[in-house]
Amino acid sequence: MQPVGAGVPLRVDIAEKTFKSAEGVQVTALKELAFEVRQGEFACLLGPSGCGKTTTLRILLGLDRDFRGSFQIPGAGDGNRTAAVFQEPTLLPWRTVEQNVRLALPKAMRDADLDRLFKTLGLADMRTLFPSELSLGLARRAALARAFATEPAVLFLDEPFVSLDEQTAERLRHLLLSVWSARPTTALMVTHNLREALMLSDRIIVLSPRPAHVVGYFDVRLPRHNRNPQVMEDLLRSFHQKFPGAV
């Protein structure tokens, strides 16, 4: 059954977001930031560090309501339909991996069968461990498991692979792709890593330095399994041609 509002895109139209620093200085983080992510599409918000990507995500997650503008979330008003993977795993240290995942589920789904998800993410043997017993890479996987277990209508990821060594990050990107492909969800990921964006996304939304607004879109229409190193080089080159100086 299609969830209510499933065909709706993620539509963002933020007119302005300003911060007041401790000294009372106004800093404009976002200005005229508008974009759309189609249903079932994996999009990346790509921009230089500190341009306001995380701020955008916090607004969309409803954690920051102090801004001018509007946005529309697919599946809004349809119960628990938004999931997020934060920059840090943010697992509850006093609950086991499995409890952490189940607690994020709506009451009706609490007893869902999670065996396949845990297996795909290589967490089958870690379900009873506490987060302090996990490496950062494993904790990130548990955070992914929590997000996907909720079967969200839209998924937000905030640089979920930073501060990992490249090998671990690459393995996690593949894991992310395999769980995402099993149930393609409208997804918006924030990153400043162009390679990561080219590897994962259908569309890259390129942001300017602060105050952030959309510079342009870069669509990657190739199926992901065809994005081998050779193709990635070509994609990188054409990206740099289209957006010289970006990132």
Partner: protein, 268 residues
Amino acid sequence: MNEQGDAETAGRLRSGLGPALPAVTVILSLAGLLAVWSLVAAIWPSRAFPPPGAVWQELLEDTASGELPYHLGVTLARVAASFVVAMVFGSAIGILLGSYRRADSFFNPWVVLFLNLPALVIIVLAYIWFGLNEAAAIGAVAVNKIPNVVVTMREGARAFDPRYAEMAAVYRFSPIDRLRHIVLPQLQPYFAAASRTGIALIWKIVLVVELLGRSNGVGFQIYLYFQLFDVAAILAYTLAFVAVMLVIELLLVQPFERHATRWRRRPA
């Protein structure tokens, strides 16, 4: 390597004796105290300073007559009631003050005032205002303790990690789940600290409350034996009560804390 071998042996020795060593030390230390006590009582025999044997005799007699268990039970019930009241109200107020800065800056002088009110004043006023009854007694003890709980729990509420609250907001945790899985676990160390100091303070104040306005309990009995100048009985009641509080600490408080902090331990 020799060095490594030595280190290993030392490690094994330590791990072999490790659990027993503190217990042995405690027993030796208490035996030493008992020996000093007997010695001093033997050198200066006096009705005001009975030897351990006389206190033990008194303890056995009062236990057999049922008098000591009765008064001990009454006092323990008062300790438990005051503890629960103090923890519930103190935690609620402390969390509120820790969460709302404005309320805190307004009510902080009140907290400081109550922190510095002498226990005796609160007890006397409670008896005058509310009469010589059980509610006044328990309330007076709780009011003595509440400011300490408030201060500790306020610190705990200020230390909340906003990331957990945000995670809970994104995943739409219910209010009950938030309390159980986000708020209480973060407060647990502060709660443990407040209850530890709480029990120690409360049982001392309960004795004063009983002395001033109750007709049963350990405090009342001590006052009675004070008038009879019966030091052996006073010591018997004191030691019995201290022993019970230690057992509560060992069998209730510590296992609970170990359970609540099990997630902190890492595998070897």
